[in-house]
Structure formats: C-alpha cells, structure tokens
Amino acid sequence: MFIEPFINNEFLRLSLAAGILVAVTCAIAGTFVVLRGLAFVGDALAHGVLPGIATAMLLGVSGIFGAAVGALVMMGGVSLVSRRFRLSGDTAIGLLFVGMLALGVMITSRSRTFVGDLSRILFGELLGVNSTDLLLQLLALVIVAIIAFVSRRPFLLLSVDEGLANTSGFSTRVFHNAMLTMIAITVVASFQTVGTLLVLGMLIAPAATGALFARRISTMMLIATLVGSASTYIGLLISYHFNLAAGASIVLTAVFIFAIVATFTEIKKSLTDRQTDEHEHQHSHSGAHVR
C-alpha cells in the first residue's frame, strides 16, 4: 500500500525521484525566499516564464530556453522599473508579472501550432517525467547548491539584516541578483516536473515549516528538504490511491504539514508561556511571602 505502487510502476519511481530533486532544490532556494521575503518575486517568475515557454514552443526550440529568457526579462524588468522610476519593488514586480502573464495568454490563445495549454505549464506533468527531465533537474540542483554555498554569508546577511550587509563590504546588488538567479533557476527547471506555479508551493511551504523552529540556516534547509521529500512521497500516494492530480496533491500535503507543525509550535509555545507565567507568579508570590 505504501511501497508497492512504486515497486510496480516505473513512472511513479521517476516521479518520486523528480519530486525529491525538486524538493531539495526548493529547500535551498526556498529558505532564502522565506527569510528574505521574496515569495512575490517567486510568484512573478512562475508566471513570467510563460511567454518565453510559449514562444520557444512556437519556434520549435526547447521550452527551457524560453523559460530562461522569460525569467531574465522578468528580473531585468523588475530591476529596471524599481530603480529608474522610484517605484516600490512590489509595484515593479506586479507590473511585470501581469504583463508577462497577459503576453503568455495572448501568445497561446491565438497560435495555431501551440498544442497544449497554459495549465500544463503552470501545473506541470510530474507523472510523465523521463530520465532527461531528471538529469535537468539534477543539474539545476547542483547549480543552485553551488550558488547558495559560495554566497552563503552574503545571503545570510541579506536575509537577516540588509543594513548590516551594506556595511560589511559585500555588494548587496550583486548578491541580491545572485539570489534572484537562484530562484529563477529553480522555477525554470521545474516547469517540466511540478510546473512553474506549483513549484512556488514547494519553495515556500517546506522552508516556512523549517522557519517555524529552526535557528540555523542549515537546519532550516534540512527540515525543508525532509518536509518537501515527505510531501512528494505522501502526495504521490494520495494521487495513486484517491485518483487525484499529482502535483496539486504534493503541494497541498506540504501546506498541510506546515499547518500541523505551526499548530503544534503554537500549542507548545502557549504551554511554555503559561509555565513561565506560573513560575513568575509563584516567584512573586513567594517573594511577597518573604516580605
């Protein structure tokens, strides 16, 4: 019931492997997304790659190139708009996000050769991954891991205290862009597997779960990896046993795990709070007694 589906079906093993690779990649990138508050950028990238993918398919080139170009345009545009026109980052992202999404819809809606549709790009087709997709996802993981490892200190400073990062000799602009690139690679690579929209769930939910109680970045990444991988496994089982869409099942599991862990941490916190309250209360009581 928990193992045989994977033993009997190669496609499920491939899906699981791809899902876990996505989970690890997302754990690394997602930790910084959550700490630095870049979820909206991630969302924008997830939609921003659409026109790129659609155009690539029209031209008959691999969608991944189109996705990469789309992501570059998105990041460049956001940076340009927010720098040149003194608009907040939010506004710039929102502007580009909607613009790129609309462009993607326009390209796909009127093309006569585009067989397929937006929902398949947004939600991927995890159950159809092949070994090439796995290799690509592995490559993305390696690149993301290298970026994160090389820039771990600047990334940490950027995430915790941008002011401090400014004074410590790092170019915040360079490393901010490096971080965006890392997120973009994660999103772009995922479009064949969980899809560009659901990857957002994998970027945020496991890392947010880690952020609930992890004190160190490495612990947070480890928890995010575990939560992400467990969500992939549980999600695929749900898809198998209850005939539900695979990608959505996985992401919903991840969000559900966050909810459970958050509830438990809240209960635990309120219990310890009460204990300290009682402790203090007793203390003051005994103090009064002495007096």
Partner: protein, 309 residues
C-alpha cells in the same frame, strides 16, 4: 511547426484512397477559408470547429460561406473566443456547434447567441448520444455525455437530414442534391473504415482522453482506457488511474497508446516505454492539414490500423 512523418505518409495514403471521392469536396475546402467575395453577398455559416465545419462546407457547397471559429491546433475543449469571434457568431445566418459540452469555453457565448434570437444548430441534439464510458470495469464517476460524435461517419449520417433542413431553412436554399451526394459519400467512407478495422485481429483502444467512444461503438472496437479518463481534456492524469491503465494494457495486450490533443505526450511516452509498446499521436479533434472530413477520418483509421497490426 513540426509535422510528423507518419502523418504525412498517412495523408498521402488518404489522398490516394480519396482520389475516387466526389469532386464536391474540392470546392468545399476552399470555401472553408475564403471570406465572402465582394460581388455576391453570400450568407455566412459559423461552425465552431473544423471537422464539423468541413461536413457543413460539403453540404452548402458554394452557396454559403463557412467560417470555422476554433483554429486548428487549439484545444476545442478549452478555446476562449475573442471579441471578433463573438461578433461573427452574432452576425451568422446560422451557427453550428457540437452541443454536448464540447466547446466548454464557448458555452456562455453560445447561450447569448441563442438569447439574441439567432439560430444555433446543436449536432448533439440529433444523434444517439453515448452517455457512459464503455468497457471500463472501474467506477469512475465522470458523468456527462460523450461529445466526440464526429469520429463516426455513422453519427454524421444520423444527423445529416436534420442539419440539411436546418441549413436550408436558415439560408433559404435547397440542399437536397448535395445532401444526397454527401450521404452516399459518407456511406462509402463508413464501409471503407469498416473493412480496414475488421481486418485487424483485435481493436483494443487506449487513447489520450475518452474520445473514441462513437468510433469504437460503430466499428466494434473495445475501449480499454485513457490516459485522462474523462470526456474532456480539462482534467488531469492521476497516478492511480495511470497505474490501473497500465494493468489493463498489460491484460488486454494492447499494442499502442494513441495520444493527441490535450494529453501531455510525456505521460503517454513514459507509459508506453515502461510497457514496451508504441505511443502514436493521433489527430482526433481538428482536420490538422487533412483536406476534408473523409481524409481526416481515413488518416486516423490508417494510423490506428498500422499501430494495431
């Protein structure tokens, strides 16, 4: 822009077999594309998708202009009309639509057209509708009706009298002669498909979504299952259904998986690879380069026959 070599081969074959077809079909395919000539104002018939569009075009000949709304390559299940499309629908002498929840993105628009008092001919109202999924021992609740009625010339023959009179009324022209010609033509096509399929040892079909119902019912094929077990492509494949399908394909020794519009080819390819069988892309929802309905059907039948041989 990629054309599969197999498709090309098949259409060449179809062309040869069609050489004997009536010459009415030639004028037809032209009128599908051309807009009204400036001198004579011809009435305009708007048909939602190209397969039925060609049948209508063969029927009206050069007496009306046939405009097809959903371009080939777009998924008719998910097509969203533009403002100009809606204008064309509102101005048409008559609109021909599938009518069985096929053009899901057009439903509201078509309703408005009817409310405006325009004539809309729903093909689905004039045929024997397939309601449940056939030959599937699983109890998936997909509900609804099968809209893929054009995949059997038998069904086309069934609705032809009603279509002829609806068009005659709306356009004010007599179509009796072309209706008779088309009937003969479709009957020949029907026989030809019958011959090809009965030449197969067994005709066990696995398709992208549940689209082969009318075809299977007409020609004695058995539907084993589909990647997306739903009458529409707006659903998604699930791990459980894929695993079930894998078992069934094994059990019935199905020789090929037919995919196409709306199914991610990756899923079919992966499943076919795992089972050591072929995955064949089939054009089932639009003419896709075929010159007419007959050619479209024969190409599909040739592909099926080759893959299941």
């Amino acid at each position: 822009m990629t054309k599969k070599p197999l498709k090309k081969l098949a259409s060449v074959f179809a062309l040869i077999t069609l050489a004997s077809c009536s010459n009415s079909t030639e004028t037809v395919s032209e009128s599908t594309q051309t807009t009204a000539s400036p001198e004579v104002e011809l009435p305009v018939v708007v048909v939602t998708y190209s397969v039925i569009g060609d049948v209508v075009a063969q029927l009206v000949g050069d007496k009306a202009v046939v405009n097809v709304l959903i371009p080939d390559g777009q998924d008719p299940h998910e097509f969203q009309p533009s403002a100009k499309d809606i204008e064309a629908l509102n101005n048409a002498a008559i609109v021909i639509s599938n009518g069985l929840d096929f053009e899901e993105g057009l439903e509201d628009v078509l309703e408005n057209v009817i409310n405006l008092g325009n004539k809309v001919f729903m093909v689905g109202e004039h045929i024997t509708v397939l309601k449940t999924k056939e030959a599937d021992d699983h109890e998936h609740d997909h509900g609804g009706v099968d809209p893929h009625l054009w995949l059997s010339p038998g069904t086309m023959l069934e609705m032809l009298p009603a279509l002829t009179s609806a068009l005659s009324d709306a356009l004010g022209i007599d179509l009796a002669n072309s209706s008779v010609a088309l009937t003969t033509n479709l009957e020949e096509l029907d026989k030809e498909i019958q011959q090809t399929i009965s030449g197969l040892q067994d005709c066990n079909l696995v398709s992208g979504h549940d689209e082969m119902g009318y075809f299977a019912a007409r020609y004695g094929c058995q539907i084993i299952g589909a990647i997306i077990p739903s009458f529409t492509t707006t659903s998604e494949a699930t791990a459980g259904e894929l695993a079930d399908l894998k078992k069934l394909i094994d059990q019935y020794k199905v020789a090929a998986i037919f995919t196409g519009l709306g199914t991610n080819p990756a899923v079919a390819d992966q499943l076919a690879k795992e089972l050591g069988i072929k995955a064949v892309t089939l054009s089932t929802h639009y003419l896709d380069g075929a010159n007419n309905y007959q050619e479209f059907m024969l190409r599909m039948v040739t592909q099926i026959a080759e893959a299941l041989k």
